[in-house]
Amino acid sequence: MPTSLSYPALLDQPTSSSALHPQWFATAQAEAWQQFLATPAPRRNDETWRFSTISQLDFADFQRAGFHGDASAWIAQSTGVADAAATLVFVNDTLVHQSSQLPEGVICLPLADALITHPELVKEYFMRHATKLGSAKWAALHAAHLTNGVFLHVPAGVVLENPVQIFHWAHGDRTTMLPHTLIVAEKGSSVRVIETFQSTDDSSASLTIAVNDLVAQPEAQLDYVVVQALNEQSKVITINASEVEKQAKSTSFLLSTGAAWARSESISRLKGEEASSFMLAVSVPTGDQEYDQRTFQHHISAGAHSDLLYKNSLYGEARTIFSGLIFVDEGAHRTDAYQTCRNLLMTDTCEANSMPGLEINADDVKCSHGSTSAQISDEEIYYLRARGIDAPTARQLIARGFSIEVIERLGHEATEAYVLRFLDQKFASLR
């Protein structure tokens, strides 16, 4: 693709960041590059990469990218929910469209702009924690090269009824997106964000390394929904971290239908009494797609609640890896933590790997995890066939119902409908 030929390779040393950006950011990027160089690449024996296909981590032939040109077709396709509070559309991390009905006081900007207009506020929240689920090297690469993303800051007490939606389009072969999403919901505020990753065509292989940091301050509610529907040539790493303070409630949801290889790392830090975190994911890998999901529920404070539900429906020769850990700190009593991974095996060539883990350092806790892998039972198919539904439709109905159980937990009709649209597209491609 000619537009991308002029860009330097992803693994080359970054050029210095924009002169308009604050000094701290330039320093952070330079340090991140050093950290990238100093951090060894993951190896097969690393526990955080157990069962992973390490060869997917060869990013040598990807380039950094930008976008100049006509994006109107993709802007037109960036239809999310009706009545969105704000919409931002990016192509290869370049902002191509922005609209907003946000109340005054809410900051919702491309990160590149926020770094200029609100440098100190961004600094306060920017990549505060080390990545610990295996991708420290790629998080450093992301930080060293990142040019854009979204900074959303909701002031205390502001309740946004309608979602903020962000669209990322990957354009061109061997291109890279490094979007950085930073959401801060101040005390007692409420916000819902839907972020969608798509490709502009079906044949170009792109790489996305997305990092997002979510901060829910006391009594805030922060819902973050990601739809990953990149084309099936692409690779994607998403690194998600939530901080949930006293009486705050955070939900992070991930629907994966796209990409050839997708790695997601999601960590939730429960930092206050009565904080609650819901970690949800639905995946429908088909063909030879591989989804590698690592999660961490970190109970730092006593009396917090976390609940994780990941569901995979595996078709073709798809492969999934789920590795989850509930980690309860010493003194985090009255912790109430759950973790469930369910795999629905739809073909006899798919493969599901589950590693549900617990590390408990306090005694007054309720923690449990469960993991199942099974096929649809013959009785269920028979029940539907007896009602005149053919077997393939019956199987799909059951797989859809299996996924919807998670989607319904979002508790927002328009968002659920939006997510379902992508789920049904995926199921339709299987007919």
Binding site: N343, H369, Q375
Partner: protein
């Protein structure tokens, strides 16, 4: 009753209820070794052991190859505890024996060795209910006997040295086949310096009504015990094997690293029962695996009470159709202890089923870990696994971890894994205390209720340590 390890927060009665008597094995006799390989491990150590044991050439070569593998393999600290780095391989004594052959009669066993086993109750149990006993003192068996009618039926129950010399035709084809030398660093170490352990062969169709027992005793300081057990149950045979182990509490760490291989041929059943009560400075790093052929069953029943660090994941490779594997595991981790136990279920044939039930109790600052692997490869049909692991935390600083890994390929299988962590709830204690039960007894009741269904899997008559557990269980069933 050794209460010193318990935190002050536990009242005396509760402490007594949850603590297990570890003092029974805490005594020692002066060393009377004729053969001592000295400290540290080198080619010379291997040759010394081979010379003393008069090993055949193939065993000598096997040991030397294993030493090389041991040296090449890194410590598995990428997933296991750093405490492993505290093992000083240069300080350990790898072979100690008095040069005597195992005796067939307790009358011929040296007085202090006899007294050791008398105090542990072994001869008495043998008279009461065992089909055969082997008692190992440091590196070699001091006593080995099996009931005469079993010998007539062709049952072989000898130590590994005798097994590899006298029964090479049965021993050699299976030796190191279930657990290859290179399986892990400690199986390689065992392969290099193994001594003692049992070799058992149960002929076709022979079903032993009474269990066989082995008792492992460490008597010398800084000693490493490396027994090697191979049990072969021929087609349709059935056997239950029980092992117990104790060591006195020395100032320095002691290493126990066994390799146990089980082979259950078509339709055979092997049950392997362990009650591990090593003193709290023993590193207990054991590799145990069974091979189950068509319609065969291998069950590991495992109770870990003692040791400083135990790393043990009994496995079953289900190689024949409808083979069955099971691991039943109880672990008690007190202050200063880490019980890192689990199970490994490798399904390698259609319609194979496996079951893992693990319960752990962490007391004081004790840490218990469950680590499991379930593997169901492609192109198999109808495999099933069920895994349950429950952890009970007694004190504020108690710790528990669960790390299972489940791989399922294909859609003709079913696996389920469940784990829970709980404490003895205040409500539960209150409920019982309201009915006039003291807090300690209530705690005991709750703890015993927690492991009750697993305790039933152990043979009632078994060892002193388990009797203590069963006593607790009886106490619990009164209310």
């Amino acid at each position: 009753m050794s209460l010193d390890l318990l935190p002050e927060t536990l009242d005396q009665e509760t402490a007594e209820a949850v603590n297990i008597d570890r003092s029974i094995g805490d005594f020692t006799f002066p060393e009377r070794n004729k053969f001592d390989a000295g400290r540290g491990l080198s080619e010379k150590t291997i040759d010394y052991i081979c010379d003393v044991k008069n090993d055949p050439q193939w065993v000598r070569e096997f040991r030397h190859r294993a030493l090389k593998v041991f040296r090449d393999k890194p410590m598995p600290t990428n997933w296991a505890t750093e405490d492993l780095n505290n093992i000083n391989f240069d300080e350990i004594r790898y072979y100690l024996s008095d040069g005597e052959k195992p005796k067939r009669s307790w009358d011929d066993v040296p007085a202090d060795v006899l007294e050791t086993f008398e105090r542990l109750g072994i001869p008495q149990q043998e008279r009461a209910f065992l089909a055969g006993v082997e008692a190992q003192f440091d590196s070699e068996a001091a006593y080995s006997n099996v009931k005469e009618e079993l010998t007539k039926q062709g049952v072989i129950f000898v130590n590994s040295t005798e097994g590899l010399k006298e029964h090479e035709e049965i021993f050699r084809p299976w030796f190191g086949k279930v657990i290859p030398t290179g399986d892990n660093k400690f199986s390689a170490l065992n392969s290099a310096v193994f001594s003692g352990g049992s070799f058992i062969y149960i002929p076709k169709g022979v079903k032993l009504k009474q269990p066989l027992q082995a008792y492992f005793r460490i008597n010398s300081e800084s000693f490493g015990q490396f027994e090697r057990t191979l049990i072969i149950a021929d087609e349709g045979a059935e056997v239950m094997y029980m092992e117990g182990c104790t060591a006195p509490k020395f100032e320095t760490a002691t290493l126990h690293s066994a390799v146990v291989e089980l082979v259950a041929l078509k339709g055979a059943k092997i049950q392997y029962v362990t009650v591990q009560n090593w003193s709290s400075n023993v590193f207990n790093l054991v590799t145990k695996r069974g091979l189950a052929m068509e319609d065969a069953e291998v069950r590991w029943i495992d109770c870990n009470i003692g040791s400083r660090l135990t790393m043990k994941y009994p496995g079953v490779v289900m190689k024949g159709r409808r083979a069955r594997g099971e691991v039943i595991s109880i672990a008690l981790a007190n202050t200063g202890q880490h019980q890192d136990t689990g199970a490994k279920m490798i399904h390698a044939a259609d319609e194979t089923t496996s079951n893992v039930v693990s319960k752990s109790i962490s007391v004081g600052t004790g840490r218990s870990t469950y680590r499991g692997q379930v593997h169901i490869p492609k192109h198999l049909k109808g495999c099933k696994n069920n895994t349950e692991c429950d952890a009970l935390l007694i004190n504020t600083k108690s710790r528990t971890d669960t790390y299972p890994a489940i791989t399922v390929k294909g859609n003709q299988h079913a696996t389920q894994h469940e784990a829970s962590v709980s404490q003895v709830s205040q409500e539960m204690l209150f409920y019982m205390m309201q009915r006039g039960i003291s807090e300690g007894a209530a705690m005991s009741l709750a703890v015993n209720g927690f492991i009750n269904d697993l305790v039933r899997e152990f043979p009632m008559e078994y060892s002193v340590e388990l009797k203590r557990l069963i006593d607790l269980e009886m106490e619990g069933s009164v209310g």
